[in-house]
């Protein structure tokens, strides 16, 4: 069997159901692969792990991956199971926010650690400064939970449709009390949760072959998960070493995730890629990437995997 190590970008949860399903259902084994899934965490930068040789393939958001590429870690997108972005801002309705223009003078919680790029380029497209002040927004570096909103330390916070938003609702807040801005709807969506490998490895046909099999099996896992959300959530729970997650939460997450993966067969849609790059390059004075990236994706692997 050939070994493959996958570096997740977050802790074990239904966001990564496809991979756990593929492992659990033996799809990887069918492809003669021995796959290790490494959970991530708030301080693990997957591109760093990849650069250090700690994993063969990583999941990442495209802004972060492209930024890493500019920083001298040449990562290449080989597959894109997520078609749609799940990122959004969730605000208190009573804070007086109706359009993005109303963000001025408000406090907004943002995830950093490479996840700030979509927000920053959106704001610079709107021409809203992010350094506090009267008509700018005050940015908080929010930890990965929803307390800043519930405690009203922030007027808006970053949430994912499939996770944090549900947590806000679970806390007892009504949907009518909130107003949400999906990046997808604002035309600033960037691609999330793609698979990336190091460029130099793609010169090795054996590696490419392994990735082809890996992507094929993973996509099989994703499609199974979309169809069987409850069982998929169960599989994820079995793989969660902390034992801290609840079933209800994971089932709902799986249901929401299925909406994001629905439009993709795993191959990167070049139009989506170009939209992402345009969003990032349009980042005003401090763009996330300074020039059009080259060779940041390859369709070779999905082409082989999906035919």
């Amino acid at each position: 069997q050939d070994e493959v190590t996958l570096q997740l970008q977050w802790v074990t949860q239904a966001q990564f159901a496809g991979y756990y399903v593929a492992l659990d259902q033996g799809y990887y084994e069918d492809e003669n692969l021995d796959v290790t899934i490494q959970p991530g965490g708030p301080d693990i930068a997957p591109p760093q792990v990849l650069a250090g040789g700690g994993a063969d393939v990583m999941l990442n958001w495209m802004p972060s991956a492209l930024a890493a590429r500019e920083r001298g870690v040449p990562v290449v997108n080989i597959a894109q199971p997520f078609k749609t972005s799940g990122l959004m801002l969730t605000c208190w309705a009573d804070a007086g926010i109706e359009t993005p223009e109303d963000f001025r003078g408000k406090t907004i919680g943002v995830w950093f650690f490479g996840n700030e790029y979509p927000f920053l380029s959106w704001m610079s497209q709107l021409g809203i400064p992010t350094d506090g002040g009267e008509d700018g927004v005050t940015v908080l570096r929010q930890a990965f939970n929803v307390d800043p909103l519930l405690q009203r330390q922030a007027d808006c916070i970053s949430t994912m449709t499939y996770n944090e938003y549900g947590q806000v609702l679970d806390a007892g807040v009504g949907e009518d009390e909130l107003i949400t801005f999906k990046y997808e709807d604002q035309g600033v969506a960037t691609l999330e949760d793609g698979m990336y490998v190091l460029e130099e490895n793609l010169d090795d046909p054996e590696f490419v072959d392994r990735m082809v099999r890996f992507v094929r099996a993973s996509m099989k896992g994703w499609k199974w998960a979309e169809e069987n959300p409850e069982e998929a959530a169960e599989i994820v729970l079995d793989n969660d070493a902390t034992g801290a997650q609840t079933e209800a939460h994971q089932v709902r997450m799986m249901t929401e995730i299925a909406k994001l993966t629905a439009g993709s067969n795993g191959a990167l849609d070049v139009a989506d890629y170009e939209r992402t790059v345009a969003t990032l390059l349009g980042g005003g004075s401090d763009p996330v990437i300074t020039m059009e990236p080259e060779g940041a994706y390859t369709l070779e692997i999905t082409d082989q995997a999906l035919d």
Binding site: L140, R141, P148
Partner: protein, 282 residues
Amino acid sequence: MNFAVIFAALMIWFGGWWMNARLARIRGGRGAGALAPILFGVTVLVLWELLVRGLGVPGAILPPPSAIGQAFAANLPTLWADFVQTFVKGALSGYVIGCSVAFAMALAVDRSDFLKRGLLPVGNFMAALPIIGMAPIFVMWFGFGWQSKAAVVAVMCFFPMLVNTVQGLAAADRMQADLMRTYAASPLQTLMKLKLPAAGPFIFNGLKICTTLALIGAIVAEFFGSPTLGMGFRISTQVGRLALDMVWAVILVAALAGSAFYGVVTLLERAATFWHPSQRGR
């Protein structure tokens, strides 16, 4: 190639060591005292540079010292702002609050045997509590600003300081205390003229332990939420951007600030407890 690099590294290491051994044999002399650790530090830096470059370690894993130096020089204003936010506002204020509350508490504990019996064991238990675990809770309670960092620092400093001060206030030996009794000294006189001076070395021990805790606490707390500046914020976001040279520049600031803080308290200690044998000897 790699072999040559490692060989060169070994040579440099032994060279530095040999020089230091020579230095150590030169007795006395304040200059020599400072030179040895500097030489050691320089040896380590040269080794680091050599190994990172020679073995081709990616900059995203470990940058060479020269790159760190450049990042440091190029980002002085940012680093200064981060330093003020984390060290001056977060760590220092928390340090002052935690240490002074603990000190006041220790005075109360010293006056009451009941409190001493009850509070000290509980205090010792709480001191064993991994306070960093409280950081997310404090960010929730006290907000994203420096106040939550100061709170973490204050709590981290509280117990070491309390335990040391209480121990110190009981440090006066029996004869010294009896002497005060023969003078029929008031409790306040006894405190000012006997207990506090005798507690000096212990109090400073607590203060020294707290200097290292303060910086660590303030930085750690920033990992659980912060405004868009501060040393912890900088480290965490720059790791996410793979700007490791900048990360190490911040670590450098932390080490410099921490060592300086420790050094200042040590100097104060030397001035205030000059009479103690540990300050006189050798």
